[in-house]
């Protein structure tokens, strides 16, 4: 595996750097010279190369890398402040074939920000300016390193909301969310990160700076934005984005309903969706995931559902929803439980780490297969191979996730069980990840999921990045 390199090896690498031997497949420039050029581009203080400064960049939140010894230390970390600096770094990397791994806040669970092939980590968090907010066109332009929570707070002051609200909202960057096509708690209303992007500025792997037009709709050729959304930085470095923003909702309502079992809860939610309602958030969760919120001991599942927007509309939507859920046997629990759950939504995954290394298997299958897949997951849990902290259908009815935790000694067995679950999702016509990404975790499943589509992805990669410098070792490209 590419990520089993130990810190001992890293030390040797660093020693090699200090001795000035080439690690960049190039005869004319030593790592020391590379470092000197980088320092001229971004300033000495923005190039990190000491072992202690590199260790924090050797991992992201991929749960199988629980200890620093399991990470991969880059040669150096570069912190650019402008697109021009990024361009110069990319040109250097391309000329001397240096692997380049872009990174935001490093909150990805798939290892997308792990420098799998060493080289340089491009930390974009100093590119953190909100460039403009245009209330008239309801759009905002930001640099890639802007933190979602910072953007949201700035928009709230002006009566707007961005609407992208993943679990990592307090620390994730806009660039990271674009590169993983992330999904948030409020996506029922606002869509995933991809839907929120109007235009992008990107430095391509050969050093070209391109910027798409921030038109919401264009019929003039390929949709270039979507080439970079979810590409995990393998096709270039996203440095700026123009985003859709929305009016801050007049009212938000979140309710929690208890159900006798998951199947009834899920089917009832489908009835809500089929009636033409469009919840801002929706979650069907099993007993394990909702345990602390279930007051009724007979309840084995819950539905959390919410709306936001114009007051009268939201109230009418929730009233209609309540009719359907209650008709199907749902019992509304007190608002405090729903509000607690909502208030805790960004912290809950972190808290699971108290139980062991927490992971989320973020699979999706066709709606018609969800209950079959749910049964399969439950059997895996019953076999004792995997410890469940909750199975849930989240935001889209196709999504079915398993939150779990494992100890260091259980890691191998966990990995195998996880693999079987993900394979089953693919067999059922689904996807191995609806929001986290491939990173280094599902390289071996990309062919199974995509077939010849993966060949097209590889052709695109070769066309744009002939020297394979951009985030190599990801997406099975």
């Amino acid at each position: 595996m590419p990520f089993n390199k130990t810190l001992q090896n890293m030390k040797l690498d660093l020693l090699t750097v200090k001795m000035g031997k080439s690690m960049v497949n190039n005869q004319t420039m030593s790592p020391k010279e590379v470092m000197e050029v980088l320092m001229r581009v971004v300033g000495k203080e923005n190039v990190l190369y000491e072992p202690y400064d590199l260790i924090p960049y050797s991992r992201d939140r991929y749960p199988l890398l629980t200890h620093p010894k399991q990470g991969i230390t880059p040669l150096a970390v570069v912190l650019p402040k402008t697109t021009e600096e990024v361009q110069k770094i990319v040109e250097l990397a391309n000329k001397y074939r240096i692997p380049l791994t872009p990174r935001g806040s490093g909150t990805n669970y798939a290892g997308s920000a792990v420098p799998a092939k060493g080289g340089l980590v491009l930390d974009l968090t100093k590119m953190n300016k909100i460039l403009w907010i245009d209330e008239g066109s309801m759009s905002a332009k930001v640099e890639a390193g802007v933190i979602l929570q910072v953007l949201e707070e700035e928009l709230n002051k002006r009566g707007f909301t961005f609407g992208h609200d993943p679990g990592s909202f307090p620390s994730a960057t806009v660039g990271g969310c674009i590169s993983t096509k992330s999904l948030g708690w409020r996506a029922g209303k606002y869509g995933d990160m991809g839907r929120l992007v109007l235009s992008l500025k990107v430095v391509t792997p050969t050093g070209l700076v391109i910027e798409t037009r921030d038109m919401p709709k264009s019929s003039t050729g390929f949709d270039i934005n979507n080439l970079f959304i979810g590409a995990e930085g393998t096709l270039g470095v996203v440095t700026e984005a123009t985003l859709r923003i929305h009016p801050f909702p007049e009212k938000m309502i979140i309710h929690l309903y208890a159900f006798p079992d998951f199947e009834l809860a899920f089917k009832s939610l489908l009835r809500v969706l089929r009636s033409g309602l469009n919840p801002m958030t929706q979650l069907v969760i099993d007993e394990e995931g909702l345990r602390e919120f279930l007051e009724d001991p007979s309840a084995k599942a819950g539905v959390i559902i919410g709306y936001e927007g114009v007051k009268e509309v939201v109230e009418a939507e929730m009233k209609r929803t309540a009719l359907i859920l209650e008709e199907d046997g749902g019992k509304r629990l007190n608002d405090e439980a729903a509000e607690d759950y909502w208030a805790n939504r960004h912290d809950m995954f972190s808290k699971m780490n108290v139980e062991g290394a927490a992971d989320s298997i973020d699979t999706a299958v066709p709606v018609s297969k969800v209950l079959e897949f749910y049964e399969f997951i439950q059997n895996q849990i019953k076999s004792g191979r995997i410890k469940s902290l909750g199975v849930s259908s989240w935001v889209l009815p196709e999504n079915l996730s398993l939150d779990s935790a494992f100890s260091e000694s259980e890691a191998k067995e966990y990995r195998e069980a996880k693999d079987e679950i993900v394979r089953k999702a693919i067999e059922l016509g689904g996807t191995s990840s609806y929001c986290v990404g491939v990173g280094i975790r599902f390289l071996h499943l990309m062919k199974m999921e995509h077939g010849p589509v993966l060949d097209v992805m590889r052709m695109i990669k070769r066309a744009l990045d002939p020297n394979d410098i951009m985030n190599p070792g990801k997406l099975s490209l």
Binding site: H67, T107, D123, V150, V354
Partner: protein, 382 residues
């Protein structure tokens, strides 16, 4: 290093492992050190990865590594925002202790530690000089239930705060004594940079002096002393036979019960800076605000980052001594925040914040005035 259940660092090791499993990075956003320097190794999450690597022998300690820990102001923002509720400031202090044992210290810290060991204050001045600020006509009891614990920074560097404090106490007719010459450094500077041994020695002395004086209430005008006496002494010695009160709490109480009448108008636009050791560490947010709002003609305005989210002034945790330029940069950002909301006056309740802010206001010629809460309310007393 093998760290098993019996090891002195087992709790620290467990917490570091927990953070290394989680790695959410929620600690990054308002971290004053990270905001200025931008390297992941200066975030709580990054330091915890380094710390685990160090304890597990994967990396060697060095002066550069140690500075990643010494650059933390121990402001506690990361602790406040940590979903798994790690005591992150304690982790920093424990790691500083380990680094000290390995011989990695900041020379500036060694200097003030040397002073504390020699003359019981970090400024190296004599005990005799500690009361130079005391005005002649102030009534100080020889014996009282209440003692004013002056603190070294107010006594030697910001005497206006010590003076205002005793004047306020006199106006409100609060009977109080001083512990001098038995008041030593509270130990906060030693503990914050990891010298738990020295902290223990200082705290033991002060505790004995307080108990011997028969005091039941200790009043501090320093946020650092307040945290140290009110929290750290308890951690080391258990429940204390006296109450610890910060002047901001006492003033709010005196205003409420009518002992202090703030009736002279102060027509200024005023904002309040929450000292980390008083606010996030000890939960005192409202009393100083209540006092400021009660002063006639004061227009009170809040900075966007306030209470639990307040930005650190940059002086704490030994940073003002060890990294003065960085401390000034941090203070400048906070002062600019105050200026941006139209404040002409910034009030706080910590001599350490006062020291840092006043330096920067003077150096940068900023159109802002700084007052300690005690100084400010004196202007409103007829």
């Amino acid at each position: 290093m093998r760290i098993d259940e019996n090891h002195a660092l087992k709790d620290l090791y467990r917490e570091l492992n927990l953070c290394n499993r989680c790695r959410c990075g929620f600690c990054r956003r308002n971290c004053v050190t990270y905001r200025f320097l931008g390297a992941e190794s200066l975030t709580c999450r990054g330091r915890n990865a380094i710390a685990l690597s160090l304890l597990d022998g994967l990396i060697e300690a060095s002066q550069g590594l140690a500075e990643r820990f010494y650059l933390c102001t121990t402001c506690g923002f990361c602790k406040d925002r940590c979903p798994i509720e790690l005591d992150t400031t304690r982790i920093v202090e424990m790691m500083r202790t380990e680094l000290f044992k390995k011989g990695f210290v900041k020379p500036e810290h060694s200097a003030f530690i040397g002073h504390i060991q020699k003359v019981h204050n970090p400024y190296g001045q004599s005990h005799e000089e500690k009361l130079q600020w005391l005005p002649p006509k102030i009534g100080v009891a020889k014996k009282s239930d209440t003692a004013y614990f002056i603190g070294c920074t107010a006594a030697y560097r910001r005497p206006e705060i010590a003076e205002a404090t005793v004047r306020v106490l006199n106006v409100a007719e609060v009977d109080f004594m001083l512990l001098h010459p038995e008041e030593w450094c509270c130990g906060s500077p030693a503990l914050r940079i990891g010298r738990r041994d020295l902290f223990y020695e200082l705290a033991k002395h002060n505790l004995e002096a307080i108990v011997k004086a028969g005091v039941t209430k200790v009043v501090t005008s320093c946020a650092g002393c307040y945290r140290s006496l009110g929290k750290d002494y308890k951690e080391f010695f258990g429940d204390l036979p006296f109450k610890v009160v910060h002047m901001s709490e006492l003033i709010a109480e005196l205003v409420k019960n009518g002992s202090l009448r703030l009736d002279k108008e102060i027509p200024k636009v005023v904002t309040y800076h929450d000292p980390c050791h008083l606010g996030r560490h000890m939960g005192i947010f409202e009393p100083p605000r209540e006092v400021l709002r009660s002063i006639p003609a004061v227009k009170f305005v809040e900075m966007p980052r306030n209470r639990e989210n307040a930005l650190c002034c940059g002086a704490g945790g030994g940073v003002k001594a060890g990294f003065p330029d960085f401390a000034r940069q941090a203070a400048l950002e906070r002062l600019m925040e105050a200026e941006k909301i139209g404040a002409t006056t910034i009030v706080s309740a910590c001599p350490f914040c006062a020291h840092n802010f006043k330096d920067v206001i003077r150096e940068q010629k900023l159109p802002l005035e700084f007052y300690d809460l005690t100084e400010f309310i004196l202007k409103s007393i007829r």
